[in-house]
């Protein structure tokens, strides 16, 4: 659905970099751009949004061409059907939540979309408050809703959750997935958080120095070998303790702490702070209902 071949020479404090990227994203896919700072992730989003003009290349979404250097096509941002959410919420401080959303309406657009969005991201109680009275997570929910007012086909998310604490992040991730599905969006996320990427994405583009290193499903990008275990989580090693003839590795997965028995040869290359996959078979875990 999104086909893009973009080429641009970027200049930054670190020097000159050639961005040369080809994207082929299916309609309805949730794609993440991953890679070190300065790899070209944000520039790629800005180019898709029309905020930055490539030196050459083409960008088309469905049957519509947004950019084609040779044919001299370069649709302005307002005509591209995109929603854009940044780390910085950039809400109007003097307007209520509802007014912030209404401001994004196009002329003659049906206002029902505002109520629908307020309902889907659960802002009913907050709709008459000013942004400054809201928490970071609530403001980001408003920013997400505002990005969807014009009913975009493509949602661009530039590290929208990186300023939030882990609880808020997890909730916002759920809201993003909810609107992604509800509005059949094609979403491109820039993120560094491997747990977040695995939870949200169908496909990853791994970028470095302006080039795509790898493309694939999250599990195949972040692990060397694909495990058959159905019970898999990504976590951070927070402790390694030696027992007499083995080790116990403590891993933080989301907000839960789990412990795994390991042998010496498994922990030789492991240190605190490393990301690991914790895997078991579907046959081993037991379920216990939590009584409310």
């Amino acid at each position: 659905m999104i086909k893009a071949h973009i080429y641009k020479t970027l200049r930054s404090a670190a020097g000159k970099m050639e961005l040369d990227i080809e994207l082929n994203i299916q309609k309805g896919q949730f794609v993440t751009l991953y890679g070190p700072s300065g790899a070209g992730k944000t520039s790629t989003l800005r180019i898709i949004a029309g905020l930055l003009t490539p030196d050459k290349g083409q960008i088309s979404v469905g049957d519509t061409t947004w950019f084609d250097k040779e044919q001299k096509i370069n649709s302005p941002t307002q005509q591209r059907k995109i929603g854009y959410v940044f780390q910085d919420y950039a809400l109007f401080p003097n307007m209520s939540v509802r007014k912030n959303l209404e401001y994004a309406l196009e002329k003659k657009q049906d206002k029902n979309i505002i109520d629908e969005l307020i309902s889907i991201v659960e802002l009913e109680e907050l709709q008459n408050r000013k942004p400054e009275t809201l928490s970071g997570g609530q403001q980001q929910r408003v920013a997400l809703a505002r990005a969807l007012v014009r009913q975009p086909e493509v949602l661009l998310l530039d590290e929208p959750l990186s300023a939030l604490d882990i609880n808020m992040r997890s909730k916002l991730q759920d809201y993003i997935l909810k609107v992604h599905k509800a509005y059949h969006l094609t979403t491109i996320l820039v993120s560094h958080d491997i747990g977040e990427i695995i939870k949200m994405s169908d496909m990853i583009y791994d970028l470095k120095d302006g080039r795509i290193q790898k493309v694939g499903e999250p599990m195949s990008i972040f692990t060397n070998n694909q495990l058959s275990g159905k019970f898999q989580f990504v976590g951070d090693v927070i402790a390694i303790s030696k027992q007499d003839v083995f080790y116990i590795v403590t891993v933080l997965i989301g907000q839960s702490v789990v412990k795994v028995v390991a042998q010496e040869k498994e922990i030789v290359n492991l240190k605190i702070g490393d990301k690991v996959i914790v895997a078991s078979k579907a046959f081993n875990p037991v379920l216990q209902k939590i009584e409310k």
Partner: protein, 133 residues
Amino acid sequence: MNVFSGHISNIQVSKSLSMISVAIDNAHILKAILVETPETASYLKEGKQISVLFKETEVIITPEEEPLISVENKIRATIAIIEKGELLSKVTLASSIGDIVALVTSEILEGLSLKEGQNVVAMVKVNEIMLSK
């Protein structure tokens, strides 16, 4: 983790489950049951190179030569090294497919009088074996 590589020699599918036989060498086939089928996992193909993984804690050891027991995977081995801990001991078993490490209670090690040099059978249930590409 115990890791052996081999190739898939047989696949039996029933609904969402598959029983995968992995030939480690001509004499040793290890079986694993997965909640996966060749339709859901592209690596499930006969002849495909694959690794078999199982945890040390899931290895059962018996001194009996032909144990009557509901465990599918059995490998003949010799106890090479015993490292005793207070509650658990690490037992390294030498077999024709390579070393297998087992973590068993120190109590049962004494109870069965298992000693270095002794011939045993190492066993692993099909639901404890994971496959890795």
